[in-house]
Structure formats: C-alpha cells, structure tokens
C-alpha cells in the first residue's frame, strides 16, 4: 500500500470536520477503508441523508478535484467515458485535403481528437493526490451501464481501441451513490465496499444543523430536531431527510423565528413536505408533534398549550 491518504478513521473524521462535514464512526471507517484498500465505496441511504455532500467533503478534505458523473436513464458510454470529436476529425481531413497533404488513420485518432468524459478524466488525472470520482445515483442509469463501470472499478483503467489502455497513476477514489430505486447487480456490489448511511440521531442532527445554519440559536435547533424525529415516525410519502431539515431551519432562521410556534411551522412547512399528501398529514399531526393550535385551546391539549405559552 503506497502512501495512504489517511492514517486512520479518526483522521478522516478530523479532516472532514475541518471542512465542515460531520461524520459518524461508521462513515469515517468506510471512507478510510475505501481510500486505504483502494476499493470503490457504494453509499446507500434515504434521499437527503448526505451521500453526495459526503463525496464533496471528501474531495475538499483531500484538496483534490471532484469529478462528478450524474447518472440518468439512457446514459451511454459516449457521455461517461470518451467520445471522438467527429467535427474536428472531419475538419482535419478537409484541411489536409486543401493543403494537399497526406493523412493516415493514426493521425486522426490521437489524443487531440479525444474528448474526455468524467470517467476517462478521472483516470487521466495527473497529480500527487488521486481525484474523487462521484458516480451519483447509479440506480437511475440502465443495468447495462453498470457493466461498463466494471473495468474502471476493478482495474482503474479504460481501454480506447484506437489508442490503447489508459491506466490511472493513482487509482481515483470512487464513490457511488444509490437511492435504491432499483436493485443494483451483485457483480457491482461485490466490487465495492458498502456503507448504509443511517439517519443521524437527534444530538447529531442538532450538531449538523448548527454547522449548516450558523444563524439559528440553540433552543430552536433542539426543538426542530425533536420535531423532525417525531415527524419521521409518521407515515409519509417521503420522510424529511437531512437536506430538508437544513432547508427548514434555514427558512425558520431567515424568518427570525426563535421558538417553534404553529404559525411559523405552517408557513415553512413547504420546505419539509414535498407532496400535497405529506403537507396534509403533517398539518394534521402538528399538535401531536409538539405544536398545538394557539387560538383554540383544545380540551385535551389545554395543559400542554399553557405549558408551551409560558416562556
């Protein structure tokens, strides 16, 4: 193993902490093992739990470029690996004809006419530190695309028939993310280390929110984290994740709210609920979530309401 990027898992947490990303022990271990064993890392977890931002933070911590490949249905090799620049090749042919020079096939297939796409760019990167290659939402790409990744994941090399095989000087740190909209193939899973990112506990949520929204004050953060924890137990179409939580607290602090009150929660609910059904479900459950109606004290909620009004 040549010059490991990190000494141990603690160093991973420390250096990610320095760039503003809080990670738990499991995630730090996963990143440490992925960089040390030079294996790709497959991250799964609910949407908005911070998979993509983890890769970004890793690139920032290593001070190396982040090369991102956003997957989508119908993504082809031409958009992921490389493409020949047809237009320039045709121009070159015309130009040599006009100058009445001779042109061989080898002249047309040189690196000059090769257009790097993200995967090849990551392989051809020259620098002391390998780049971070983020293959985002791999589950959105077609099954066939997974097979395309095997060579780069296994050997860190890409073969261009006309030019030969490019092999990375330092194998890039590959991070794949998936939202589990479909099952990935076992062959892909086998090649990667796997880490499932759990939704963080309340204390950590407060920690992360404090980092992400510096303007918000402590009591608001605590009550917001508690509110989120309860809201996530409801049967929602999409349970609010970390990204929604950050948006929500940012919205609350932009409105200069210092305490969770029903009216303010209702005003900012659109940052948490991303479908009409969730909006209705959250609104109905507000009392149960710790925000009782203010104007009309309910018989059963009356003591609760009084308590909430005291401070």
């Amino acid at each position: 193993m040549v010059s490991a990027l990190f000494e141990d898992a603690d160093e991973v947490s420390r250096r990610l902490d320095a760039v503003g990303q809080l990670v738990d022990q499991g995630t730090a271990t996963a990143l440490y093992l992925a960089t040390t064993l030079e294996r790709p890392l497959l991250l799964e977890g609910e949407p908005g739990v911070g998979k993509t931002s983890l890769a970004k933070a890793l690139a920032a911590a290593l001070d190396t470029p982040l090369i991102r490949l956003q997957c989508y249905e119908g993504l082809t090799a031409g958009e992921a690996l490389y493409e020949w620049n047809h237009q320039r090749q045709l121009l070159a042919i015309r130009l040599t004809e006009a100058r009445s020079e001779t042109l061989t096939d080898a002249d047309l297939f040189t690196e000059e006419f090769l257009q790097d796409r993200p995967l090849l760019r990551a392989i051809r990167h020259t620098g002391p530190v390998p780049p971070v290659l983020l293959v985002d939402e791999i589950d959105r790409a077609d099954d066939e695309f997974e097979a395309l990744l095997f060579e780069i994941l296994g050997e860190s090399s890409i073969t261009v028939p006309e030019l030969g095989t490019f092999t990375a000087v330092h194998a890039p740190v590959v991070v794949l993310t998936s939202n589990r909209s479909r099952e990935l193939h076992d062959a892909l899973r086998r090649r990667c280390l796997y880490h499932w990112i759990d939704f963080p506990g309340p204390e950590r949520v407060v920690e992360i929110l404090r980092r992400s929204v510096p303007g918000a004050d402590a009591p608001l953060l605590a009550s917001a984290a508690e509110f989120l924890g309860r809201a996530r137990t409801l049967e929602l179409d999409k349970a609010p994740g970390m990204a929604e939580a950050i948006d929500w607290v940012a919205a609350l602090s932009a409105l200069r709210v210092d305490r969770l009150v029903r009216g303010d929660v209702l005003r900012t609910l659109s940052t948490l609920a991303k479908s009409p059904d969730d909006h209705v479900a959250l609104t109905e459950a507000l009392t149960q979530l710790g925000c009782p109606p203010e104007g009309e004290p309910h018989a059963s909620d009356a003591p609760h309401t009084e308590e909430a009004r005291k401070p």
Binding site: A9, Q25, G26, T36, R39, Y194, D277
Partner: protein
C-alpha cells in the same frame, strides 16, 4: 497471514477469524463471497482496532453488501461478540470466535425447498409410493425424482375468501406478489437505440460508419422507450364486501410493492393507502390500513368516492392509468351519478376494469342498477371471489401492455 497486532485482537490469526465470521454469516443467509472476506482481512491488516464499535464497522463495511442483510449481520455480530470478553482468549486462535460448532462435512444435504412461506406447511412432494418401499428394503439407496404434489397454494386458490383463514390469506398474498412479473407499459417521449425502431438514429449511424470508412453500411435505429404504466386500484371496504376486504388489501399491497401503483379504499369516503401498504410487513400494513379506513364495514357511496378521487389532486394520477375498481356495486348513491362519475373516469383512464366478487357465481348477470350503469364504461368485468380470479385480474392488467386497443372480453 501472520498473527499480529491490534489491541482488540491480540495474537489472533486474522485470516481464520475473517473466514470464520464470513462462514457464520453465510450460514445465516448473508451472501459473503471470497472477495468480501479478502476485503475484511486486508482491512484488519491496515487498521488497529481499539473498540468493539470499530470492529463492528470494519466488519459491516467489508462483509455486507446489501441493506437487507444488515439486520442479519447485526444479529450474528451480537451473537458472536455480544457476550464475548474482548480481547479474545487464545482459544479463538484455533478456529476463530465465529466458528460454528459443526462437523467437518461441508456438503451436508440441504432441504430441497427451504422457502416454506411460499410453498406452505409440510413437504409439497412425496418420493415414492409407500408400497414399493414395503416390498423392497433397499429402495432408500436408489435416487428417485420427487413427484410433485400440488402445494398448499395451488389447493387454496380456488377457495372463496370467506372460507380462508388468516394464515392462508397471508400465504396467498405472497403468492400474488410473486405472480406480478410483467407489467403494462406506455410509450414515453424519449428515444433510445433499438434494433427495430421506427426512426434512424443519425448520430449513432455516423458514429457506427467510422468502422466502415465513413460509409454508413449499417443503419442504427431509434425506438421509443417504454415506461411502466400506472395502475390505480380502488377497493370497496363496506359491510357487504367484508369477506373480500382483506384479500383485496393483499392484492393492493402486491400491486404497490411491485410497481408504480396507487391504491385507495372507500366506503362512504375515500382513503389513500399507498404509503401505508408499501411499508413494513404484510400483517402490520394490513392492520394499519384497516385502522386508517375509519368508515369500513359501513354503507357505500361509490359515486361519491369516485367523484372525490376525480376532483382531488390525485385525479391526475388517473390519466393514462389502468384503473381497477373492486366493488360489489351495492351503492347508496343514485345510478345516474355513478354513470356520470364513470364517464369522467373513462375519459381519463387508459383502461377501466371492474372487479366484482359476485361475478364469478354461476348465472350471474349484471342486473343491479348500479352495475348496469357502470358497465358501459368498463373495459372488462372480472370476477373476484377467489385468489385464482385475482390472478386472472393480474392477467387482465398485463393485457393492457398491448398497444392496439382491442375489445376486452366482457362477461
């Protein structure tokens, strides 16, 4: 691998340790291949473990590749290390702490069908007629292909819902889930290279022509991508539908889990059940759904519920969808209102299928005024009194995959 360092596992043969843990996981059904064990050994070499949590994370990241296996992994890890006093004793050097107490025979016979929940209780086959065994004592050494007997499921599918117990209903619910293999599709606006597509893909053709000296010998074609079509199912849970309600909930759960389906229950008002049924175990989902539907086993307002669906923001879901309405058509609303609602539904949906539990009875004719009012707007009327007929419904839904609009069989 030499025995070595780490405060947690002093002088433990890490290879043996990793292999033993992998073995134990495999015995519990977690697919742990050689690559994964190799990863784990390499990870153990390059980390100094100081706490159980570190060991946990290292093992989990290296040995588990799927979220579904995490629970099993946690159980095994807890069983192995939960009460173990770490650092491990020298005993662990011999065969690793994870070694299961078992014999040397790795080729022990495995029961042919271990998935009992699908096949039902008991062995679904016999090996040989017993009379042969009695005549000849040496038959146990001859290999015989097992003769398959109908399993529990096959015997149950034709039983009416009223006569099924909860266990059988659950079993058949699972069977329905497995029956949903193909799904109707719709043509999307996006194109992809396809062998017998309708258009010529110019860019791909030119690219391909590079191989033949820029002479386009092979034409590459484009075709529209097919997307799964949405299925919307409405289920009547009024008093008259009480025997069928649980079975229909199982069907709706199967639809929700397998593909892009939206499901609703109604009696006098409409309740959306998609999220409830998609989560957790079958029993919990059914229970929660029954709790959610406040007005179940009361009266029926089919027309009112249909109108509520059409008017709500879910109305858009019906556009181009295959709509299944499961009801016995005993309606409290006047039939004209149902006809009006059905006409609106018909205009919006791709296909409307009515599922009637009474339609399977011999001599059934759609004579109730509501059924007669709804029938002109339905593409098919399907009986729904046994699980076999629910399977028939699935075949009907799958039929919608065909692009041309052929008249559906009417009963």
């Amino acid at each position: 691998m030499s025995p070595g360092g780490g405060a947690l596992l002093p002088a433990v043969d890490r290879t043996a340790f990793a292999v033993a843990l992998g073995d134990r996981l495999r015995a519990r059904g977690v697919p742990v291949g050689l690559t994964l064990v190799d990863d784990f050994v390499r990870a153990l070499v390059c980390t100094t473990l100081r706490s159980r949590a570190e060991l946990y994370w290292t093992a989990r990241i290296c040995l588990v590749r799927n979220h579904d296996d995490l629970a099993e992994f946690d159980a095994v890890f807890e069983a192995v290390f939960g009460s173990a006093v770490l650092p491990l004793d020298p005993h662990a050097r011999r065969d690793g702490p994870g070694a299961a107490p078992r014999g040397d025979d790795n080729h022990a016979p495995v029961p042919g069908s271990s998935r009992e929940e699908e096949a039902g209780q008991g062995l679904p086959w016999v090996t040989r007629p017993t009379t042969v065994d009695a005549a000849d004592g040496a038959t146990e050494h001859t290999l015989a292909l097992p003769e398959r007997l109908p399993s529990d499921v096959a015997g149950l599918v034709d039983t009416p819902f009223e006569k099924l117990g909860p266990y059988e209903t659950r079993l058949l619910g699972k069977w329905l889930e497995s029956a949903l293999r193909t799904w109707p599709t719709r043509r999307s606006r996006r194109f992809a290279v396809r062998q017998r597509g309708a258009r010529i893909a110019v860019r791909a053709t030119v690219e391909r022509s590079r191989r033949t000296g820029w002479e386009p010998v092979v034409l590459v074609r484009n075709g529209a991508i097919a997307q799964p079509r949405r299925v919307v199912m409405l289920c009547d849970v009024s008093r008259s539908m009480q025997p069928q309600a649980v079975a229909y909930l199982h069907l709706m759960r199967a639809l929700t889990l397998t593909a892009d389906a939206q499901v609703f229950a109604f009696a006098t008002s409409l309740t959306r059940l998609t999220t409830v049924l998609a989560q957790r175990s079958a029993e919990a989902a059914i229970e929660e759904a029954s709790r959610r539907v406040a007005d179940r086993f009361g009266g029926t307002r089919i027309a009112g519920s249909l109108r509520a669906l059409l008017d709500s923001h879910h109305g858009g879901l019906l556009r181009g969808a295959v709509v299944v309405v499961g009801s016995d058509c005993w309606d409290g609303d006047p039939p004209e209102r149902l006809a009006a609602a059905m006409a609106r539904l018909r205009r919006r949906a791709h296909r409307v299928i009515w599922l009637n539990p009474r339609a399977g009875a011999p001599g059934f004719a759609p004579r109730t005024t509501t059924m007669a009012a709804a029938l002109p707007y339905c593409d098919a009327l399907v009986p729904g009194d046994t699980f076999a007929s629910l399977r028939g419904l699935i075949t009907q839904i799958t039929h919608c995959a065909r692009r041309e609009r052929h008249p559906a069989p009417r009963m």
